[in-house]
């Protein structure tokens, strides 16, 4: 199998081996290091090209907030390498092992919200051999996925702020538009968030779930119910559902912001440790979220807004990032590994292609209540096609010795 040609097909997965060494020191970089300058509104990289292999970035913070620097894979989701906590006026190094392919660089002054100065970065040259030491490769995969999780929650904080602001100010049109978009970051890392048993129920429980457990109904879906009250009344015709007033909205919005902040603190604490099994099992867990009887495939997740396809897409993206973190480790496991990786690359591609016939984040996905049963069956068939090989990933990464 030719690596290069496959990388054009699925560049996202190919970047998996980028060994991340975010262990940084104060800059003593040699002349080879690529200079990066982070400012309040920019992220200047001295060159947009490099040879494959070890690449070092020397990041200087010329802004007035603590900053971060990221190297992202071609879909701008998976973190290939990152360096955090660069204080104003200081500089730190980031070293990555890069395979040939397309990447993106960006900075994040203030360390929360979307990155800035996003720019393309191209790596050319020969393939780099997968690290002979499996533990090192696994450590790199875990570091990469952990960074991704933190990054997603970081973005979630900013997006929830915008969503809650629109909702509490009574701008329902904007709030309805932002609702599915805001959930994307959460859906990408859902199994991780669910590790924190007390937070997920507050943030993401559906109405029947909250009621069954005698919990106050709060979070995304409570706001969803208020924003799509007509649909809610259709779904629960015997209940008297009342529109929330300004005070009620403020209380709900504050609660969601508080809970998301708590999630941010948890994933950014030293106690937040993931294993490679968390990553590979999390990938299949994300797909299970879609297929569950109260999930996206039956249209139960977003029962008022019918924005299930956004969540569906985000769950698949999250699974693909988790897969991408360990893809090269799996591929190095002889013919079994090569076959699995080939299957998964193909099935992820097929899943995205099918979902994209229904729209995208920018243009919007069609309302799920217009997706007929035969079409849902087709989505379910492709989800099964993807889920079966994905369920083998943990075994291939951890249970098969290299051949």
């Amino acid at each position: 199998m030719n690596r290069r040609s496959r990388s054009t097909v699925l560049a996202v997965a190919l970047t998996a081996t980028l060994g991340l060494s975010a262990c940084v020191k104060n800059s003593e970089s040699g002349d080879d290091a690529i200079k990066v300058t982070s400012t309040a509104d920019g992220c200047e990289v001295s060159t947009a090209k490099a040879d494959s292999g070890t690449i070092t970035f020397d990041v200087t913070n010329d802004g007035d907030k603590i900053t971060e620097f990221y190297v992202l894979d071609s879909n701008k989701l998976r973190i290939v390498g990152e360096v955090e906590n660069i204080a104003p006026g200081t500089s730190r190094d980031l070293t990555v092992q890069a395979q040939p392919g397309e990447y993106f660089t960006e900075c994040k002054p203030g360390m929360v919200g979307d990155g800035i100065g996003n720019a393309k970065f191209t790596v050319t040259g020969d393939d780099v051999a997968v690290d002979e030491d499996q533990q090192k490769a696994i450590d790199a995969a875990v570091a990469s996925y952990t960074a991704y999780t933190k990054d997603q929650v970081g973005e979630l904080v900013g997006n929830v702020d915008d969503f809650v602001a629109a909702y509490t100010s009574g701008d329902d049109e904007t709030a309805r538009k932002l609702f599915p978009i805001t959930r994307i970051n959460y859906e990408r890392i859902e199994p991780t968030a669910e590790q924190f048993g007390d937070l997920d129920p507050k943030i993401d429980y559906r109405k029947p779930g909250a009621e069954a457990e005698n919990l106050p109904f709060t979070g995304f879906h409570r706001i969803e119910m208020d924003l799509w009250l007509d649909e809610a009344r259709k779904n629960y015709p015997t209940e008297e559902l009342i529109e929330l007033d300004e005070k009620g909205r403020a209380k709900l919005g504050d609660q969601l912001r508080t809970d998301i902040k708590a999630l941010y603190d948890k994933v950014h604490s030293d106690e937040f440790v993931l294993t490679v099994g968390d990553i590979t099992n999390g990938a299949i867990g994300l797909l299970d979220e879609i297929a569950a009887p109260d999930g996206k495939l039956p249209g139960e997740e977003d029962e008022f807004s019918h924005t299930d396809l956004y969540d569906f897409y985000a769950n698949v993206e999250g699974a693909q990032v988790a897969y991408g973190a360990v893809r090269d480790i799996a591929e190095a496991k002889g013919t079994e590994g090569e076959k699995l990786v080939g299957d998964l690359d193909r099935q992820f591609k097929g899943m995205f292609a099918l979902l994209e016939t229904y729209g995208d984040y920018d243009q919007g996905f069609v309302s799920y209540d217009t997706v007929e049963q035969a079409q849902r069956n087709e989505l379910g068939a492709q989800l099964n096609a993807l889920s079966e090989p994905l369920s083998q990933l943990t075994h291939t990464v951890l249970g098969v010795s290299k051949s």
């Binding site: 379910g380 068939a381 079966e388 369920s391 083998q392 951890l398 249970g399």
Partner: protein, 417 residues
């Protein structure tokens, strides 16, 4: 398993004796010969042979039937590989083995087991797995030849015409492929379909399935006559596995236009709902007149015992007309009134809870193997006048071509490519 056959049968309640296969094909009484030898747990039915197993095989007690559609992205290679993988898995499971060597517990702790495991500790239980191909496999509803096999389609493999009293639903009808799994333990049959469905993910997806308990036909003279859910004996007119000349005339499609169908047959599947509550309010005399047989013994109303041939010209002074009424099921379904058409039937009862009105969802899953679908069509058309129609509705329908036996080292359907 030996010895307490009677007690097992009574423990199974309705299962052993209930039946309803005759609804479309002839409600005729069968042989109460007592010995149900195939109900042993360790019985292995050979998977390979001149014909596929599960057709003339003595009918097992339980059925799980599945209809599949190929997925939208699957092409010729996926169909080929699917049939090869299904064949390999079916050959193992019919021997009572796990679906692969690693099986249910031998694959290591980190991956989902290859075999789902619910049949561990259960033996083969006479499991048979029988494959068939629907019309849409050769040409879909839009006229596309998705797998490059349109020229391999048997001329007679077309959707069945509609019949009087049909109330068909898509969700119980059609399909590109089918698998019939029969066994003497329901879990063994379910295990087979579940694992074959899992193997198919990415290539084919379940369209509908049907669980059947309690055979309603016999294909062996050694098997006792079952009763259907209407309480009548069923199965005398059925073709037995030992009836060589009847099988040649009525079952094996050796003279079709497709060589791959030699040793094969056509399978007609009909899901027939019985209006149980209404039937149960019909007085005995009328029940017997509708069927054309007496309920206790199963003898034709023209006289004799269960195995007496019905005499359609006998007059009854009590009835003031023919002893076997003109619109009775036995008369209309009898080969004498259908150009000699007979079918090999392997139907099963089903009970699937109840509807919102508290009525039983129950009936007969009718399966017939025929040399030509025309045999079924002719009989079903005759039955338009059947008074039994007041108490049944056909709610599902499918037709499949069942290829001949699978030779050693070969896969089912290899003749398609």
């Amino acid at each position: 398993m030996t010895g307490p056959r009677l007690s097992r049968r009574s423990a199974l309640g309705l299962i052993g004796a209930a039946g309803a296969a005759g609804v479309a094909g002839g409600f005729t009484a069968g042989a109460a010969r007592g010995d149900d030898a195939p109900s042993t747990t360790d019985l292995v039915v050979p998977f390979r042979g001149k014909h596929q197993a599960g057709i003339t095989t003595a009918v097992q007690q339980h059925l799980y039937f599945a209809s599949f559609d190929m997925t939208s992205t699957a092409g010729r290679e996926e169909l080929k590989s699917l049939l090869a993988d299904w064949t390999a898995a079916a050959a193992r499971m019919t021997r009572g083995q796990d679906v692969t060597d690693e099986g249910a517990v031998g694959g290591g702790p980190y991956k989902p087991p290859d075999d789902t495991g619910e049949a561990l500790d259960l033996q083969a239980n006479a499991l048979t797995i029988t494959f068939g191909f629907g019309p849409t496999l050769f040409e879909d509803a839009d006229g596309r030849d998705r797998f490059g096999i349109a020229d391999r389609r048997p001329k007679e493999l077309v959707e069945l015409p509609s019949f009087a009293f049909d109330l068909l639903e898509d969700r119980f009808s059609g399909g590109d492929l089918c698998i019939q799994a029969c066994a003497n333990d329901p879990q063994v049959a379910v295990h087979a379909i579940r694992n074959l469905s899992r193997i198919a993910f990415g290539r084919a997806q379940v369209r509908w399935t049907q669980l059947g308990y309690g055979r309603t036909s016999t294909t062996s003279k050694a098997q006792a006559t079952p009763r259907n859910l209407f309480g009548f004996k069923d199965g005398t007119a059925n073709i037995f596995g030992s009836d060589g000349s009847d099988l040649a005339t009525s079952v094996w499609a050796d003279d079709s236009d497709q060589p791959w169908l030699d040793g094969g047959t056509f399978l007609v599947a009909r899901k027939i709902q019985m209006l149980i509550e209404s039937w149960d309010r019909v007085r005995l005399e009328e029940q017997e007149a509708i069927i054309g047989r007496d309920k206790g013994e199963g003898a034709p109303l023209s006289g004799g015992t269960e195995f007496t041939e019905p005499k359609f010209d006998v007059f009854s002074t009590k009835a003031g007309g023919p002893a076997i009424p003109m619109d009775s099921h036995v008369r209309l379904a009898h080969p004498d009134h259908n150009g000699g058409a007979r079918m090999l039937r392997r139907g099963y009862n089903f009970v699937e809870g109840n509807n919102d009105l508290g009525q039983l969802n129950a009936g007969l899953f009718f399966l017939a193997f025929v040399r030509s679908p025309q045999q079924f069509i002719d009989v079903q058309r005759s039955l338009a006048k059947d008074t039994l129609n007041e108490y049944i509705r056909h709610i599902g329908s499918a037709i499949f071509a069942v290829p001949g036996g699978i030779r050693a080292g070969d896969s089912v359907g290899s003749g398609l490519f």
